[in-house]
């Protein structure tokens, strides 16, 4: 009897999970969360106002903790307290959108400096 109850409960939970309305909402949102500690940063020499910031560690919500760069833009990233953007050793947490946003000067052109994406909002300690 208990086994039957367990199977019914587990099956119900799976069904509820499948039809939760959050699934349709998430499909429309293209931002992902991130969090990490700043190691170092450089100025994006072609796209003035943007900064390339390296995080160690960098948490992106997946099973593996990585290290890597994200971009802060003074034009489009919403900055929250304590406003210590790109300060080495400070925790940063926020959302980012994958894409290229830091261009650096190389002879006759600018190259998009590799990064994981652009921070859309960020708060720091």
């Amino acid at each position: 009897m208990k086994k039957k109850q367990f199977i019914v409960t587990a099956f119900s939970l799976i069904l509820i999970g499948l039809f939760l309305p959050i699934s349709s909402a998430r499909a429309l949102i293209t931002e992902d969360p991130f969090g990490g500690i700043v190691s170092t940063s450089i100025r994006c020499t072609c796209s003035a106002g943007n900064r390339w910031i390296w995080f160690t560690p960098l948490y992106l919500g997946g099973p593996v903790v990585i290290a890597g760069p994200l971009i802060y833009s003074s034009f489009s990233t919403t900055l929250y307290a304590d406003l210590n953007i790109a300060v080495s050793g400070k925790w940063h947490i926020g959302d980012y959108r994958p894409g290229r946003a830091c261009w650096i000067r190389v002879r006759w052109f600018c190259l998009p400096l590799p990064s994981l994406g652009l921070m859309t909002k960020v708060g720091t300690n």
Partner: protein, 251 residues
């Protein structure tokens, strides 16, 4: 607290207001909490164009993280071309209706952009051999920037820029195979640049990641424990690879 004042707290007044909005938008149950159903409704609402207001489509869309009211030019690809060839410009704030592209401040060519960040332009046939500085002008102004000169080289026998076909890493040594490498190549990566030009036999190129400009600064924090997306450009007198070659490494 009086109503209609934005205190930034979610109290009973806010809950009543949210419930009223939920009722008006057919969300049930209208309990006054903003959950996934309300979020989905507001996302749908903001993505649905209104029939009552005029079109708000922007003629000059900005690239990710760039100023919205400025036309910017980052790169022309390829670097070496014949007159009459089509080049692709990367930038921001390009118009969907009219842009003028200048070659050394003259010989304007009209072009339109579909996305605001790329422009396909045919190099005028009248251009003779030589290096030309490019600029884009539209309703936002001109991309001219004294610190950043974006150029192409018009020639009868243009050479392809570097192309990376494969990359491998053994210890701290990276070996690239491909084409278009010359006797003086610069490496630009996620871990910084090479300290000076690196020579190649034309098809293989070898460099050490420990000699890249930011390696020590980053390694000081990572201590060999982290997986990193290592992206590589090679740049020389004929141009640079358009897209970075990507490797996953531990540093």
């Amino acid at each position: 607290m009086p109503p209609n004042v934005a205190y930034g707290y979610f109290g009973p007044l806010t809950r009543v207001a949210v419930a009223r909005w939920q009722t008006a938008n057919g969300i049930t149950p209208a309990v006054g909490y903003f959950g996934p159903i309300s979020r989905a409704a507001i996302v749908t609402e903001t993505n649905t164009p209104s029939n009552l207001s005029p079109s708000t489509e922007i003629d000059t869309p900005a690239a990710l993280g760039m100023r919205a009211n400025q036309v910017m030019l980052f790169r022309a690809f390829p670097f070496e071309v014949r007159s009459g060839d089509v080049i692709t410009l990367d930038g921001s704030g390009f118009s969907k209706t009219i842009n003028k592209i200048y070659f050394n401040d003259s010989n304007p060519v009209d072009a339109t952009s579909t996305d605001g960040i790329t422009l396909d332009v045919r190099v005028p046939l009248i251009l003779s051999e030589g290096e030309y500085s490019l600029s884009v002008s539209n309703t936002l102004g001109s991309s001219n920037n004294p610190d950043i000169a974006i150029a192409i080289k018009v020639m009868n026998n243009p050479r392809s820029g570097p192309i990376i076909e494969n990359a491998s890493i053994v210890g701290d040594t990276v070996t690239l195979t491909g084409s278009g490498f010359t006797s003086a190549n610069n490496i630009i990566t996620t871990l910084g640049n090479s300290s000076g030009p690196i020579s190649s036999d034309g098809v293989t190129l070898t460099f050490r990641i420990t000699e890249l400009s930011m390696y020590n600064e980053i390694r000081r924090f990572t201590l060999g424990n982290y997986k990193v997306a290592f992206w590589i450009y090679v740049e020389n007198e004929h141009g640079a690879n358009k897209e970075p070659y990507k490797l996953e490494i531990m540093i």
